[in-house]
Amino acid sequence: MSGRLFFYAAALAALLTVPYWIHGDYYVNVSSQILFYAIFAMGLNIIAGYGGLVSLGHAGLFGIAAYSTGYVLQAGFGHPLAILTALVLGLASMAVYAVLSLRTTGIGFIMITLALGEIIWGLCYRWISITGGDNGINLHGRPHPFGLSVDSPTAFYYATLAVFVAALASVALFVRSPLGAALMGTRDQPRRMNALGFHVWAIRFWACMFSGLLTAIAGILFVYYTQFISPQAVDLTSSAEVLLMVIAGGAGTLFGPIVGAALVVTVKSVVSGFIERWNMLLGAIFVTIVILMPEGLVPGTARLWRLGVRKFGGAGKPAVTGAEP
């Protein structure tokens, strides 16, 4: 247990000191991106990993939060109203998603969420009077939470980190909560849960709402980071990317989505500077993960680690006892 605490402390210390050991604004910005995409992926992981409900339309919710922020700011209102509107509209859209798509599970759920995401993409792309169409919406400036400026890359990184830690803690609490346990129950044994008197639909619905909240928060951070929102952030590729972050890192694990987000963002923004065909590389990485570690990077590595420890331990002990006498 103390080993785990030490790990958390080390990880937090590493994250807190990122701007000091990573040089250049560019890489600090990449770190911010990893953090808010990790929040996005954690949000999707709530339903995809813990609930077994794979959504391929989450970029639509992400986009609604981002577009609402942009639209309200463009209309001349302040940051608090913009953020509030984004959260409310994001959650309302999630409720619509949930009511429509929770009629099925499995592949049906994938298909319906994909179609819903496409509807939102179509609206963002074509409803030019509201969304600006392909030109998108430009923002001017970031909010000043508690009077602090988050305009510099480092300040924005710390603001994102604070939100990220809160999100991670809330997910950890959720997973340990009765609702989290019930959600995993509905994933593994929906009929048995129903027979035990649990309201399977309601459990899934509230899990969806929590997922939508994290997704909306990530969308707000995204639009404040890029200062720009266009239909590209809402399209099927974006929905696919965040789902791939979850699955590649390890669906249904606390840290899997974070590792997945780090992998995808790094390939997209760092490796793409060196390799022109980075999209192909990303695809190849996904296929390789499926072949070698179908359960995802975090559980897969943990399995290999345990295997290694057992082998090492098994070989080490006789050697020690043999050396002593």
Binding site: A251, M280, F286
Partner: protein, 290 residues
Amino acid sequence: MTFWLLLTVNSVTFGGLLFLLAAGFSLIFGLMRIPNLTHGSLFMLGAYFGATFVGGYLAVTFDFWIAALIAVVLVAAFGTVIERFLLRRLPGQQMAQVLVTLGISFIVADFCLMVWGGDPVRVDTPPGLTGVFHYGPLVFPHYRIAVIVIAALTALALWLLLDRTRLGAMIRAGVDDPDMARVVGIRVSQLFTIVFALGAGLAAFGGIIGAPILSVYPGLDQDMLPLALVVVILGGSGSLLGSFVGSLIIGFIYNFGQALLPELSYFVLFLPMLIVLIVRPQGLFGRFVP
């Protein structure tokens, strides 16, 4: 009046192309329960291959129909490889299936961008079909009518295959109850490969047939995949009739929506699907709820 008639012909043509795309998607989905997210890529790959063999890129040029045949065979072979070496290893694991099919679609999209570049590739209308029909004040290109005929013939051939042959009976048995089909001695895993190759070939055929109308461009895969999805949800998975009716409905809604409600065209496109999901979750002609 002219406007409406032209729009109708375009809608039926587009519906025909959608049918070629969606029929295979529906069979794969119905039989294997796999959300094949590479299906748009297979359509695009077929179109690019066809464009390459038709002209300009290679030392030899082929007749349009021979080029189409080569493209179909190549893409069907590619589909067989995907099924045999990747999807075969992941029965029932939806997330892994999503990951691998999306991964392949990323690779295919980037491969096409690398080989054929970012500019749209035009494919000439096959010689002999370049003319137009005149009917009063109306003008219909021959090729659009030909696409409708080809799609209708393909639908007929598929129906004969599924409804009148032994193989078709085995596929239908697999769609209805895979476990029971296995028990009575049908080699369902072999059917998977056949159906996947058939679906891939049909998608590629749709791609090359559609190329003179749609032209071929990066992102074609992302444009077509959601449409195939809507058709299958609307018509019902695993049902040929469902794909046929669904494709026509979506062909009409797509064209009329773009002409009449350009700002909300995507919204009206997905609206009937949502209504069907709420009223009849298995789709208009589907046999099971996915």
